[in-house]
């Protein structure tokens, strides 16, 4: 219970500093009988990159998927507690997850382009949400998204080639472009670089830093170096608990909790 008190304190401090974009209170997640997330409280700010770190199976991805209600697609998963975006409870009965996910985009661990053309991959979101009135506007949205995904120059001559034909790093940037095309306010990234080589990883990390200008980015990562490189805030999860949450610099230089220290020094994980 001590960890909760600490994180509670942290949260309080943060709330006074900046207005929170996402505020989670007492979040519990159950997979059938397993208690996967235990009483997590966290505030995520706008225009910030927040990293979730922790050993495998600690619940960081599960918590991430609560923020856009992707867990709804898993039958046995049950979420309790309170997650608010701009003060609105996203688990309210009146909220349509479809609308929510348009506002909270997501990029997955493995690049998952649809078996369609590059253009159609990016245009998919704007089309289903009706963001473009005509072809010209759609073209515009697609180009802007691809530019923001830092892949425009590589694909502009083959927009109608299949998205699955790109290299792994390109596919992941395409997926990021696809996610930003629906103009979300929050971008969730679930280990976006774990399937990529170092060069592609560097490109994506650079991109994440740029995306911070427009979005609130939450990134789950296995790599502490990556967390340190790209994030301003870091949350450390362990066995379903949020152990420590604070400025990235502070977490990596002067962790308060002994478990955080053990993890970043490589003794657990």
């Amino acid at each position: 219970m001590r960890d909760n008190i600490i994180s509670e304190k942290d949260v309080m401090q943060n709330q006074t500093a900046h207005p929170a974009k996402i505020a989670a209170r007492n979040v519990q997640v159950y997979y059938g009988d397993t208690h996967a997330i235990k009483d997590v409280n966290v505030d995520i700010e706008a225009n910030t990159v927040t990293a979730f770190i922790g050993p495998s199976g600690c619940g960081k991805s599960t918590f991430l998927r609560c923020i856009n209600r992707m867990n709804d697609t898993i039958d046995v998963c049950r979420v309790e507690g309170d997650i608010r975006i701009d003060g609105e409870d996203i688990y309210d009965r009146k909220v349509d997850p479809v609308q929510l996910r348009a506002k909270v985009g997501m990029v997955f661990q493995k690049p998952n382009p649809f078996p369609k053309s590059i253009y159609d991959n990016v245009a998919y979101g704007p089309r289903i949400h009706g963001l473009a009135r005509n072809k010209a506007e759609l073209d515009d949205i697609v180009e802007k998204a691809l530019r923001r995904g830092a892949i425009w120059n590589e694909v502009k001559d083959r927009l109608h080639a299949p998205g699955t034909g790109l290299s792994g790093g390109q596919q992941q940037r395409l997926c990021i472009a696809r996610a930003v095309a629906t103009e979300p306010e929050v971008l969730l990234m679930d280990e976006p670089c774990s399937a990529l080589d170092p060069i592609a990883t560097a490109q994506v990390e650079e991109l994440i830093d740029e995306l911070r200008q427009s979005y609130s980015v939450v990134i789950v990562t296995h790599s502490m170096q990556q967390a340190a490189r790209v994030s301003q805030k870091t949350a450390f999860f362990h066995l379903g608990n949020l152990v420590e949450f604070g400025e990235t610099d502070k977490i990596f230089t002067a962790p308060e909790d002994p478990r955080t220290e053990s993890y970043i020094t490589g003794r657990i994980g």
């Binding site: 975006i85 609105e88 009146k94 349509d96 949400h129 740029e210 427009s214 979005y215």
Partner: protein, 443 residues
């Protein structure tokens, strides 16, 4: 990069577009449910049709008569010599039955304008033969008066089952109103009634004129012998082929051709196997027409791909670590397969074989071409050789045969036959499911 303006709209309010999309979602889901409902509805209609139309075949109408077995008619010499008595044909028995019918009507005090011939016409054409067989079995009954339950003809039976009514009688010369009055009186008297009919399950087929006497028994034996052939050939050959392809075959174009061949054979129309059977087994090898052996051979070829495909799946599900373990203690490849992999795959192989057999049991089209229809399978075989070589029918072929005959009484037989066939299929599939549940192993 600051041109992205937050949409600002509240999440708690569904915008018009989202509402529209959600309605489309609900509609789409409805289509899916409706499709499943239609599929299940068809199943229900099919099954209720079969049961409601077929159960009648398991009941038959009988009339009880007391027949005086007059020595004067049946054994004129009075020496009870079987050879002499055999010379009396069924025509010789007809007067006895007419007399018995008259007796019955008089004893019950029923008034009717019918002549004894018209009364006796209510009996099945099979009735005299039944009586004759009874006498030939024990000639000492001659001279006695015995009580005997005779089949009525199919019209009377139809009347009791609601198939024949006084309205439908108008265009039916086989029965008239006075006869139905007599039937009603006999029902009231208690001597004419409907009861369970074992002969439908055990008996032989009967000719066009006698639907009431037709049974599935002999066709069932024909099916049994065919399944025996299929089991004896398809299982060993199928398992051998699967073992080769799964465990030993090198990866080359010959193996590829065999594999493509097998998956294609599984999808070749069954009637093509019938043509093959006709051309090779009957026209070339001169095996007898309509013999269960030929039917079994054709069905073997047809079932082999199914068995091979399921056997290979079972072999594939045995993890390679088992093979490695056997090889590791110095067993040969052949020993590892026969001592370890095959026993572990056996339940799956058995399940696949049973399902393949069930498929073969219900198959009709190839049997038409090798002549297992169009005749009356009247005598049960008296041994394995005659069971395999003598002309016989098979359950589905018998059903087809009945479906083609004009008398609606045979349709009831056909539906009843389907019930018997389905009972076999359900049993086989249930055994397969149980085997799978009991022995299924998750690696």
């Amino acid at each position: 990069m600051t041109d992205i303006t937050p949409s600002g709209a509240s999440l708690l309010v569904q915008d018009a577009r989202t509402q529209k999309r959600n309605r489309a979602e609900a509609r789409f889901k409805m289509y899916g449910l409706a499709a499943i409902a239609v599929g299940l509805l068809m199943l229900v209609i099919l099954l209720t049709t079969i049961i409601s139309r077929g159960t009648g075949a398991f009941q038959q109408t009988y009339v009880t008569l007391e027949v005086p077995l007059l020595e004067a008619k049946l054994d004129k010499k009075g020496n009870r010599d079987l050879a002499d008595i055999k010379k009396v044909s069924t025509f010789g028995y007809a007067p006895l039955m007419k007399a018995a019918f008259e007796e019955k009507v008089a004893a019950a005090g029923i008034e009717t304008s019918l002549k004894s011939k018209q009364m006796a016409a209510l009996l099945s054409k099979d009735a005299a033969a039944t009586l004759r067989n009874y006498v030939l079995q024990d000639v000492d009954v001659i001279g006695q008066t015995i009580e005997f339950e005779f089949l009525t003809n199919s019209r009377v039976d139809g009347y009791l089952k609601g198939r024949v009514s006084r309205d439908s009688m108008a265009n039916d010369k086989s029965i008239n109103a006075a006869q139905l009055d007599l039937v009603d009186a006999l029902i009231a008297d208690g001597s004419l009634r409907k009861r369970f009919n074992l002969d439908f399950i055990t008996g032989a087929d009967a000719s066009d004129q006698r639907p009431e006497a037709a049974g599935m028994g002999v066709a069932m034996i024909g099916s049994f012998f065919m399944m025996l052939v299929v089991l004896a050939l398809a299982l060993p050959i199928g398992v051998a082929a699967s073992i080769y392809l799964e465990e030993f075959a090198p990866k080359n174009w010959i193996t590829d051709i065999i594999e493509v061949n097998i998956s294609n054979l599984a999808a070749v129309p069954s009637i093509v196997f019938g043509i093959l059977g006709l051309a090779v087994f009957i026209n070339y090898m001169h095996l007898p027409n309509s013999a269960p052996l030929v039917g079994g051979l054709v069905l073997t070829l047809m079932t082999l791909p199914t068995i091979i495909i399921s056997t290979r799946a079972s072999l594939k599900s045995v993890p390679p670590s088992i093979r490695d373990a056997a090889l590791g203690v110095g067993a040969s490849k052949m020993q590892s397969v026969f001592h370890h992999v095959l026993p572990l795959a056996a339940p799956g192989i058995l399940t696949g074989t049973i399902i393949g057999l069930a498929q073969a049991l219900g198959e009709t089209a190839p049997l038409l071409l090798i002549g297992m229809v169009g005749f009356i399978a009247s005598n049960p075989p008296d041994g394995i050789t005659s069971g395999l070589m003598d002309p016989n029918s098979a359950m589905p072929a018998q059903i087809y045969e009945w479906a083609k005959r004009a008398d609606p009484a045979f349709y009831e037989r056909a539906w009843g036959g389907i019930i018997i066939l389905l009972v076999f299929l359900i049993t086989m599939n249930a055994i397969a499911v149980l085997l799978r549940r009991r022995f299924e192993r998750r690696w």
